[in-house]
Assembly symmetry: C2
Homo-oligomer: 457 residues x 2
């Protein structure tokens, strides 16, 4: 915890642009800024939320003509005195501004340190902090919208209400214990049961929306699997609707899988081409897939690509193996190379494999649009489960624990266990909820959360 010093960093992305913003925050922000800024007034003397034009100097050397935006504590992003210098874009000027500020007494900020200070100063709760990161890294419009909404603090509000309710209930139950001999009942048992069930369901539903949030956050994962020469790469390219560049032309440097992104119905889709199977030209070994197992395990959809010229049921074994190993993924059987069939698509009773079947020619393009449309539909529908909130992995995990605690409290109540058991479960749920919003927090939890941030945020 080094909350006492003044930190600075480039807050805009590095690179060529019209403006670069350098942020300076901390108790000495105004004094340090005045060491380098030459305007009509000293920044220490100006009002908060005002902008000033002047020279930014390093020693006596002019670095740039800049604007200085002044924010007085606590009315700034961090809650501390803050000056934001708007300088001409480009890398060198911003670097020089940062270096000059460091020479004048500031310290280079660590990744996420501005936002960490905002949290520690009560400007943002942890749910909002995570929303900030989601907003910055958003890859889909619906995802960005949910993150923005979370910034407003609606979810935090609901979590706090639930906590408040649980605190009160636990207090009443504990009060009953004090009056145990009188056998008073401050809380009606049926009402308590109902309340616990509602709370548990609400938490569980939120937690379940995490997988959908992941789709909005990092994309709907579609894996392409198949025996060599089934036309996997052609299908990959056909779905992308362009010819993918050779990613790894140097033999021996192949990664476990290739990945490409596209958007369908506004949802980011990540296509994975499993390299293990792709690269092997001998008899296919399922070991190949093992290489990419980690990636395949996360897939929302697996496309098993079958070369119809080898027989329409040629890849059914592969399909069954994959269904067995990755039960959470939705498998699809893709009959490829129908252009090579002289008689057109064969009659085939697909009832036995009970998965969607697509007939197409990756090379000629037949049936590709249909598969794209179907994938987009799946992605959209899956992501809509998260229409309410955009949960992080941490939040989902904690919410699941809250649900478990509430379920345990309910169990205890149903089995007419003593009130202290129920109260203990409720207290545990309350602690978890506090951790979620950051009303109480542990340093290691903060470190994990802020590790996602870049310098300058």
């Amino acid at each position: 915890m080094r909350n006492g010093d003044t930190i600075c960093a480039l807050a805009t992305p590095p690179g060529i642009g019209g403006i670069a913003v350098v942020r300076l925050s901390g108790p000495d922000a105004l004094a340090i800024a005045d060491c380098c800024f030459r305007g009509k007034k000293r920044l220490r003397e100006v009002a908060t939320h005002t902008i000033h034009y002047g020279r930014f100097v390093w020693g006596e050397e002019l670095v740039d003509m800049v604007t200085a935006s002044v924010f007085h504590a606590p009315h700034s992003y961090t809650g501390e005195d803050t000056v934001e210098f708007g300088c001409h874009g480009g890398v060198l000027v911003a670097e020089a501004v940062v270096e000059a500020l460091i020479e004048a007494g500031a310290r280079l900020a660590e990744p996420g340190e501005f936002t960490r200070r905002a949290f520690l100063n009560g400007k943002l709760d942890l749910v909002q902090v995570e929303a900030v990161a989601d907003l910055i890294y958003a890859t889909s419009v619906p995802g960005a919208r949910l993150a923005a909404r979370q910034l407003l603090g609606g979810l935090t509000q609901q979590l706090r209400e639930l906590r408040q309710q649980l605190v009160q209930t636990a207090a009443l139950l504990e009060l009953e214990l004090d009056f145990a001999e009188e056998e008073l009942e401050f809380v009606s048992r049926p009402e308590l049961l109902l309340r616990l069930e509602q709370g548990q369901q609400w938490c569980q539903r939120l937690a379940d929306s995490y997988r959908a949030a992941e789709i909005l956050r990092s994309g709907f994962l579609v894996g392409c699997v198949g025996y060599p020469n089934a036309g996997k790469s052609s299908l990959f390219n056909a779905l992308l609707q362009r010819h993918r560049a050779i990613v790894s032309p140097i033999p021996g440097t192949t990664r476990d899988y290739l990945e490409e992104g596209l958007y369908l119905q506004g949802i980011p889709i990540r296509l994975l081409d499993t390299a293990g199977v792709r690269e092997t030209d001998d008899v296919v070994e399922l070991e190949g897939i093992a290489l990419a197992e980690q990636a395949v395990r996360q897939c929302n959809v697996l496309l098993i690509i079958n070369d119809v010229t080898q027989g329409v049921g040629h890849s059914v074994g592969l399909l069954q193996e994959l269904q067995h190993r990755f039960p959470e993924a939705l498998c699809v059987y893709v009959q490829n190379k129908i252009d090579l069939l002289s008689d057109g698509p064969l009659g085939w009773d697909a009832g036995s494999i009970r998965v969607p079947v697509f007939w197409l020619s990756a090379l000629r393009g037949d049936g590709i649009e249909e598969l794209r449309r179907w994938l987009g539909e799946q992605a959209r529908r899956s992501s809509e489960l998260s229409a309410e909130v955009l949960l992080s992995a941490r939040q989902a995990r904690v919410l699941r624990e809250v649900a478990q605690s509430l379920a345990a409290a309910r169990e205890a109540l149903l089995h007419e266990l003593p009130g202290e058991f129920v109260a203990a479960d409720l207290r545990h749920a309350v602690e978890l909820l506090s951790e979620l919003t950051g009303d109480t927090w542990r340093e290691d939890v903060l470190n994990t959360i802020f590790a996602r941030f870049c310098i300058g945020k």
Copy 2:
């Protein structure tokens, strides 16, 4: 000229960062901003140079929590009413902000359009406009410093003083013509000659500093040339002090030359490895160099790398050919592979080739530091010729023309040609000077200048 509408664009570099700034400028900037901004006050009602926090909405959908910085005309970068929205970094949010502003009536700005408006509204002269671009693209600290200084308008001031002087002189000469019959002399001839000579020399000296400015702007160019296996690539890597990644592993995709950057004594150095000679394994053809001729022609220094095990004078023919073809480059003869000489460096009378000679082993590192130091020294000394100003190619060209006009006026005077000839030359110089500062301008000149800018500036 579409100066009447309101334009907007992302002003910070695209990418992941803490803050993204979207700039909105034009007569309707405040009204358009109010369509999307929900804060305590309407932006139309706030004072200039103030910052406001609030929600940015698109329709009723929240896009982000933003700051809105308000600048009233003429006290803004463009000289127009301007609002700058500071939103959370990342690509999607800024895109949504821009799209919402466009839907509310703004137009996406063209590259450099904000700065063009600043020029047209008299906020910047053309010398300053070019300094803005130099500052953004600066690759060296001294270059950035000169550009920043030019922003202050010192060069413009000097150019205007010279112009003023010439205008007066021309006017007096024209007055003499009116009184031709009286044979009056309003300007003393010796004084006029002196003034013209001083002006001419000043312009010429400025124009000559352009090559030095180019070093600060885009780097000191060092070309590596040599027969196959002379150790060119090893020297390239040794100078870079790291092992360069293989740039083009796919046969047939070789570019004309490879380029790497490093800094020596604060000056950017660009090392060129001519591929034509490098790739050919048969008898060397100077044709190989022809491929890279365009690049080699710009080199400040050419390193001719000789494999001493082939004989110390093995590459003298190549050296002479290069000296003949590229007379402006400083050639250096590098005796490489001295580690392979059993007797150590041989006595060799290098007097005949009259270029600096270095003895080194690129592989083992002997003599590399010395060559690096020498190159840094050359780069620094060459760049110092531009210690005063950082001229653009356009400015150098126009200044050279001014010098020629003044020389012509002097010639006319010396040959006692009629005053109207002298006055015409002076008038031409005056026009050129006006074009330089942008006091008069042509649309095509502006287009060339602003083509360097990115969108958002």
